[in-house]
């Protein structure tokens, strides 16, 4: 039992450490911060978002995001700030433009091909 408690407290303390402390004024700001750090990519470890990353640069960028949020900047302004500096790659929710058309629509193309094959097969069976 004691071992179990120690184990649990270790897990919990690890988590307490990884949560950054910012003095947000209200719940809305806290949520906006969470939302943004989950949507922004850490450029050092590129398959992590900022919220999950412990990289030094991720910490700087999180500080920057928190500062903007506390100063009541809106989501678009903060995302634009990051995209201006790091490009569309920085967001996990990239905007639709000429360089991302393929990214956005290739799943639908695959879906259409699949539907085509399906319809072809059904028609063939029926005839």
């Amino acid at each position: 039992m004691r071992l179990f408690l120690i184990f649990i407290s270790l897990i919990v303390s690890g988590h307490a450490h990884s949560i950054e402390v910012y003095n947000f004024e209200n719940e809305y700001q806290r949520e906006l911060y969470q939302e943004l750090t989950q949507e922004l990519r850490c450029l050092v470890c590129q398959n992590q978002n900022l919220a999950d990353s412990d990289a030094d640069l991720a910490k700087d960028l999180k500080d920057q995001v928190a500062e903007f949020v506390i100063n009541n900047q809106d989501k678009e302004t903060i995302l634009a700030y990051m995209v201006q500096r790091y490009g569309d790659f920085v967001t996990y929710n990239p905007p639709l433009n000429t360089s991302t058309v393929f990214l956005w629509f290739s799943p639908f193309v695959v879906l259409l091909i699949g539907a085509g094959i399906l319809i072809y097969n059904i028609r063939k069976k029926q005839s």
């Binding site: 450029l43 640069l57 920057q64 201006q84 490009g87 569309d88 790659f89 920085v90």
Partner: protein, 175 residues
């Protein structure tokens, strides 16, 4: 015959996807293309490592220069140091250092040990200006023209190869 061809389609698709995957493995880099190419240098005012006072982006107008982001903690900066030194000594352009997220003592020791190739060294220990430049790892180098426009960016170390094939030709185009 027709049936055989149709039943081979999934296999062909799989092979095609595998081929794409392998091609991508060859070409894939973790380099993020900079949206700052062709744009003016972000505004900054930074202190200097060895001199009093501060410099702004305006102080560098008038001739092309290379901004090299480095830190004494960065192993690849050590690796590129001879290349930076050669480029600076060739006198073809002004090489300015941006000492990023470092400590004076460490940076100073590093430079005393290896030699200081830089014309000037700007200091950004908090990392704000580096964020404005879209820096996400050291070393990074920015080639900037006489009007303060960012012409080219190299992520990772300068090598004799990318100096010869990228920096110098771009520089020649400017003159």
């Amino acid at each position: 015959m027709k049936k055989t061809i149709i039943s081979l389609i999934p296999l062909a698709l799989l092979l095609g996807l595998l081929a794409l995957l392998f091609l991508n493995m060859g070409y894939h880099t973790e380099q993020v293309p900079s949206p700052l190419i062709g744009k003016p240098v972000p505004a900054f005012e930074l202190p200097l490592l060895y001199e009093e006072g501060t410099l702004t982006e305006q102080d560098f107008l008038g001739e092309p220069w290379l901004l090299n982001v480095w830190g004494s903690w960065c192993p690849n900066c050590l690796y590129e140091h001879p290349v930076v030194t050669d480029l600076a000594q060739s006198g073809q352009l002004k090489v300015v250092g941006l000492n990023w997220k470092d400590e004076f003592k460490n940076a100073d020791t590093w430079l005393k040990r290896l030699g200081n190739p830089y014309h000037t060294i700007l200091v950004d220990y908090k990392g704000d200006v580096a964020i404005d430049f879209g820096v996400y790892g050291a070393p990074e180098s920015f080639l900037i023209d006489a009007n303060g426009i960012i012409v080219h960016k190299i992520v990772g170390e300068l090598t004799p190869g990318n100096v010869k094939d990228e920096i110098l030709p771009k520089l020649a185009q400017l003159q």
